[in-house]
């Protein structure tokens, strides 16, 4: 029996009168990879942005590590150990690779050396480019940097918003391999993806979001073999 790291209860989010999220409930247990899949505009990113504190929910609760963090500011949420890899990577182009990693540990006061080594261990390419400015990296390297930066915060829960977006298929493979490794090393992951095939293969459990609501849930393999999911998100009907 594993404890819940994150519990979302009846979350509703609106932007200027438009309801983006209409009563979503789900949970993430310690040690899991959970994925939210769904089409563009289904409400996945809004959910993640609300959990991280960038957006205040209209109603509902966000419980993280046993504590109600609903509507708290991002600084408070980050300090509790919830880090996000934002959509589109959003590395700081004017900071060096090393600084981009250090800024992921902005609220930490302890020694960062071992964590920097750990990230360089996952992504040797970043070590080679340590003194380059982030903006000079390729898209795939920037995604590695964004993941590494989030790991620097020693997250209890790592949230990733579309890590495969805009990357070459070979790079997407690499990124998902890293997600597996990070997970194997003990980090709990909440993953948002349009690339449902990759996401469901890596996930323990998955939720399908449609029009701001949870339409389906199950283990990764259950959803992979579900006819409706296959038709709508995987683009295949036969094996």
């Amino acid at each position: 029996m594993s404890e819940e790291v994150l519990k979302i209860a009846d979350l509703q989010v609106s932007y200027g009168g438009i309801e983006a999220v209409r009563g979503i409930s789900f949970d993430v247990k310690a040690g899991e990879i959970v994925t939210l899949i769904g089409a563009n505009g289904a409400g996945k990113s809004s959910t993640l942005r609300t959990i991280s504190g960038l957006v205040k929910p209209a109603s509902g609760k966000v419980i993280f590590d046993g504590e109600d963090i609903t509507g708290k500011d991002p600084t408070a949420i980050v300090s509790k150990g919830l880090m996000m890899v934002p959509e589109g990577r959003r590395i700081f182009p004017n900071l060096t690779v090393l600084e981009n990693l250090k800024i992921g540990a902005y609220l930490r006061k302890d020694d960062l050396e071992s964590d920097i080594e750990r990230v360089y261990g996952y992504f040797p390419r970043l070590r080679e480019r340590s003194w380059q400015e982030g903006g000079t990296l390729s898209g795939g390297e920037q995604q590695m940097l964004a993941v590494g930066r989030a790991l620097m915060g020693r997250p209890k829960l790592l949230m990733m918003d579309e890590p495969s977006l805009g990357l070459a298929p070979i790079v997407v493979q690499d990124i998902f391999e890293i997600i597996r490794q990070i997970h194997a090393a003990g980090t709990t992951v909440l993953l948002i993806e349009q690339n449902a095939n990759m996401a469901l293969h890596v996930a323990d459990r998955a939720y399908v979001i449609e029009n701001g609501k949870i339409a389906m849930e199950g283990t990764g393999s259950e959803l992979l073999s579900d006819e409706k999911v296959r038709a709508a998100y995987l683009g295949t009907t036969a094996n």
């Binding site: 504190g53 960038l54 991002p74 600084t75 959003r90 900071l95 250090k102 800024i103 902005y106 930066r149």
Partner: protein, 295 residues
């Protein structure tokens, strides 16, 4: 020859004083994309505080007090007039800045009665010294060195410290900075604090060389420092400093041309003509970032 040296000396000195104001413009612009129109008036208020404090306190106490209270003023202006408009269109914040500028000028008129106030002579700074056969005030000699030392310290702060790293991050991306746990409002406050402290130091150097302060005394140096910041590429600190020195030197040279040519009265017009020419050929200024960000 001696005349040329004295003109150049005073040009470098005026440039240094503009630089201290220009850094405040460029820092705030770099983070908030806001032209802080009240900055020149903060500079003027620092000058007035210098007059009032030195009237009752020794210089060794009044000058630090000027810097501290100018910092408090800059901090308060940001919290009261700009922070509530954080999510408003940029134009609204700019109008708020113009409002603060007039508020400071009107308050200064109210307090001083609109009379030009004489800046006290600061011991040492106001003393004269002979350099290469010309007589000048110590402040003229000291200004460029003090400016360079302050700029050096500021660049260490920005490039070598955690706070500086946060400032650079926030200048590029508010939202992602928040996701790192950075408190945006603290970083913005720090920016205003640094800008105001440098303006306060600038006011002591600048007004020591000028006979009097009026409530609009901040407008012209403020505007020229702003021109210097745009000239150098707004958002860039080295740009602002180099731009300020160039403008100070050019302006003093024009003022120093033989009086029979009758051009010295155009020195301010020249400053702005220079800006226009620069912006035609180099819209981002000398060190400005390209207008389009690579995505």
């Amino acid at each position: 020859m001696e005349y040329v040296i004295s003109v150049l000396l005073s040009g470098v000195s005026v440039g240094g004083q503009y630089a201290l104001i220009a850094i405040g413009y460029t820092l705030v612009y770099g983070i908030l994309r806001l032209i802080n129109f009240a900055h020149g008036d903060v500079f003027m208020v620092a000058g007035l505080m210098g007059i009032y404090f030195t009237a009752t306190l020794p210089v060794s106490e009044s000058l630090p007090l000027v810097v501290i209270l100018t910092v408090v003023l800059g901090f308060t202006i940001e919290r009261a007039a700009y922070k509530p408009l954080r999510n408003a269109p940029r134009m609204s914040v700019m109008i708020s800045a113009i409002g603060v500028s007039y508020l400071l000028q009107n308050t200064a008129t109210y307090v001083t009665g609109g009379q030009p106030m004489t800046y006290p002579s600061i011991p040492f700074l106001s003393n004269t010294i002979g350099v290469a056969g010309t007589q000048t005030k110590w402040v003229v000699i000291i200004t460029p060195f003090l400016v360079l030392a302050l700029v050096f310290a500021l660049s260490l702060l920005i490039n070598r410290t955690k706070v500086g790293m946060a400032m650079r991050a926030v200048s590029k991306d508010f939202e992602t900075s928040r996701l790192m746990g950075i408190r945006i409002n603290s970083v913005i406050s720090i920016t205003f604090i640094i800008g105001s402290a440098l303006a306060a130091v600038g006011s002591v150097l600048f007004f020591t060389n000028y006979p009097a302060i009026t409530p609009t005394a901040g407008a012209m140096p403020g505007l020229k420092a702003f021109v210097a910041a745009v000239f150098g590429g707004i958002g860039s600190i080295p740009g602002a400093v180099i731009g300020a020195f160039l403008i100070g030197i050019c302006e003093t040279i024009i003022k120093g041309l033989p009086s029979s040519w009758d051009v010295s009265v155009f020195s301010d017009a020249f400053t702005f003509a220079l800006l226009i020419v620069i912006l035609i050929f180099k819209p981002q200024g000398l060190f400005g970032e390209a207008a389009t960000d690579k995505v």
